[in-house]
Subunit: 414 residues, 2 copies
């Protein structure tokens, strides 16, 4: 089905630079999604080759690619490769925050000059689509402030310290064990990684050139378990917060640990998650959150950029599936019953439920003179079974009013 | 500066249908942002006219417009107008959830045929960019489930019931008083409004045609104050939840009240806010939240769509501002001091702070044998003043170790 002749026919050749965690995840993801992408864009993307620091010829890869995905990281040779790809008319997708926070202006300028797309969603907050939202959805808005938790390593460490009372060093070891921190975590824990990401966000949100060197940053190495204990007493959450905000006619861009009051939209962001809040007088605030790093997640963001580069004008493609509409689904339920306050009622109710396969998870019973309230949460069950049980229940003589049921969403999240 | 000859020169003519809350907010917003948009897109948008159900000629408006913004709502004449705009090669931006959830397929098909953009961010969750993210950022991902709080009226009512213990009817009156519910709130409170929005999200997320009639929905009219009391006891939050999820090879789309465990990303969405969580094995989950309705917010989403239609290929425009980088900003601080446990220490510390304009908000003092810990939160102050105070503090003889300070983000959100 795919043409062996690059840059022609129904395929779209994607050249990959770098084959680390994100690069190899992307190389796996691309063929898995090629057919779906063909339905959306009209052509199937195909990996034209992989070049790393130590293997492969960039010149040859460039020659046979429509688009270059740069996941090498670092400045050299990434900067040269990205520039040469742009200059030869190829779209580029990169997740390289160091490169963009230091040399973004020259690369964006080159992309405009050569009429190609330079996309970089994966550079900030992994799959959380902050770049696209600031650059496109909010293009017309006057943004006043951006707050972000843009480093998953430090958020994991602070969450662990708050949860378990361990020291920074102990939490760091745990983060390394779980793959949330690298062997050399210094750029994460000292705030420099977050500073690079905030430089990029500030550039987009405030239309002002920002170099990484202009971002003040502090890390979390100095945080003591005691600080988190007091935070708990004071009702605060401690996070490593990046801020970019208008101050008068100026702009402040900085990264430092900060306590958040519980109502703050970033206060509930836990573990390795990232989140960004964009504030504006016009629209109040928008918050986006999700997994901030990890090979598959960042690769997913990179793939979204590749697809966007393939179809510049957004359209709603024809439906490609005809999933059947399912009516009977599985739900847990809260069940509220007013019953006669006499012995054996709970047993009677439980038997009716059990007959239809409904099992009780927790019960609260309250006497109320002649009658009692029975409030329970039942485990997830097909709604038709629960409805049948409810029908049976409503016929029980001990029932004093119609039963009331409300669904409970189970915890299924990571 | 603007040409009086439509469809020519450096202006871009935007014809507006409807002049209600959102329409009039959009008509105000567009000229305010015209110059900024010219910097981004190369041409300044200009209102070519306004047509309502009772005034103005649609034919004449269409003739002199490059793009039609449809904010009339309802099916007729919106459906006919949108279709005619598309067929005459104009881009269309709409916020009409009823129209799209019932006639979306024919309109999207027409837009593809005529090579124009039909954008509709404002139709779901106001300024929260769920449409763009699902359609563009996640175009390549296999989505497993979408959960949403997509009706602000009901979320406000449920938040009020939980917070104050009032009945549904009382909370509804309060919502109407504050402008969060319409005079006739039936489509909001019975779940139908949310069902229309979930039909649109499900169509995009699962690439399957979905008509509003295929969405099961229940509202919140039956919820009793007591249910919220028990929820509180059980540690749950009650929300009106829209769900679209794969079940086997099928799809379930439904709206009903549901209890959420506290770890759920939608559990902390309060008041008139909307939020949508998109789940996938590939990227875990992404959550987006923000104000769900309101004229200015929805108008802001509409404006984002207009800009996108003006510049199909996304690029990073040259910087248009040169905001000065501000180094000295205002912060509140947590301050941790280990001091000699002797009389007058707190007074001494407070005096040093006051000398530099730092005022104390709260203090926790703990004796510790010979020494004491003094932990305080101080009100927001210029960081340079706080640094000066810290410098003075560290010279105090009563200090037993260097002071430790961490910033506190104040509650400034709505």
């Amino acid at each position: 089905m795919t043409s062996s002749n690059p840059r022609q026919g129904s395929t779209f050749q994607v050249g990959l630079l770098g084959h680390g965690t994100v690069g190899s995840a992307f190389a796996r993801l691309l063929p898995e999604h090629a057919e779906r992408i063909r339905l959306i864009t009209g052509s199937a993307p195909e990996l034209s080759g992989i070049v790393t620091r130590t293997s492969g010829s960039f010149d040859e890869l460039l020659e046979r690619s429509d688009l270059i995905v740069e996941l090498m990281g670092g400045i050299s040779p990434a900067r040269e490769y990205v520039m040469r790809a742009i200059e030869s008319g190829r779209h580029v997708v990169t997740a390289n925050k160091q490169l963009l926070s230091r040399h973004g202006e020259e690369l964006w300028q080159a992309a405009r000059t050569h009429g190609v797309q330079l996309r970089f969603e994966g550079a900030v907050a992994g799959v959380v689509p902050v770049i696209r939202v600031i650059q496109e959805s909010l293009a017309g808005a006057r943004i006043d402030r951006v707050h972000g938790i843009v480093n998953g390593t430090t958020n994991f460490i602070l969450t662990e310290m708050a949860r378990t009372g361990v020291t920074f060093e102990e939490a760091l070891v745990e983060a390394q064990r779980l793959g949330y921190a690298e062997a050399d975590p210094s750029e994460d824990v000292d705030g420099r990684d977050a500073a690079a990401k905030m430089a990029i966000l500030a550039r987009l949100a405030f239309d002002t050139p920002i170099h990484l060197d202009q971002v003040r940053y502090e890390g979390i190495e100095q945080i003591q378990p005691e600080d988190l204990e007091y935070a708990d007493e004071l009702g605060l959450q401690l996070k490593l917060i990046g801020t970019a905000e208008r101050i008068g006619a100026g702009l402040s861009v900085r990264v430092h640990p900060a306590f958040l009051y519980p109502g703050h939209p970033l206060a509930s962001v836990m573990g390795p998650f990232n989140a960004v809040t964009v504030e504006s007088e016009e629209f109040t605030e928008i918050t986006m959150s999700g997994p901030g790093a990890g090979g598959p997640q960042t690769a997913s963001a990179v793939l979204g950029d590749v697809i966007s580069a393939m179809i510049p004008p957004a359209s709603t493609p024809p439906t490609s599936q005809q999933l059947e509409i399912v009516e009977d689904v599985v739900s847990a339920f809260y069940l509220h019953l007013e019953v006669a306050d006499e012995p054996g009622v709970l047993a009677q109710v439980a038997r009716v439920l059990a007959d239809d396969g409904v099992s009780v998870k927790s019960v609260v019973q309250k006497g109320l003179g002649e009658q009692a309230r029975l409030v329970m949460v039942v485990h997830a069950v097909l709604e038709s079974c629960f409805a049948a049980a409810l029908e049976q229940l409503s016929r029980l003589e001990v029932l004093r009013s119609p039963p009331r049921a409300i669904r409970v969403l189970e915890e299924e999240f990571g």
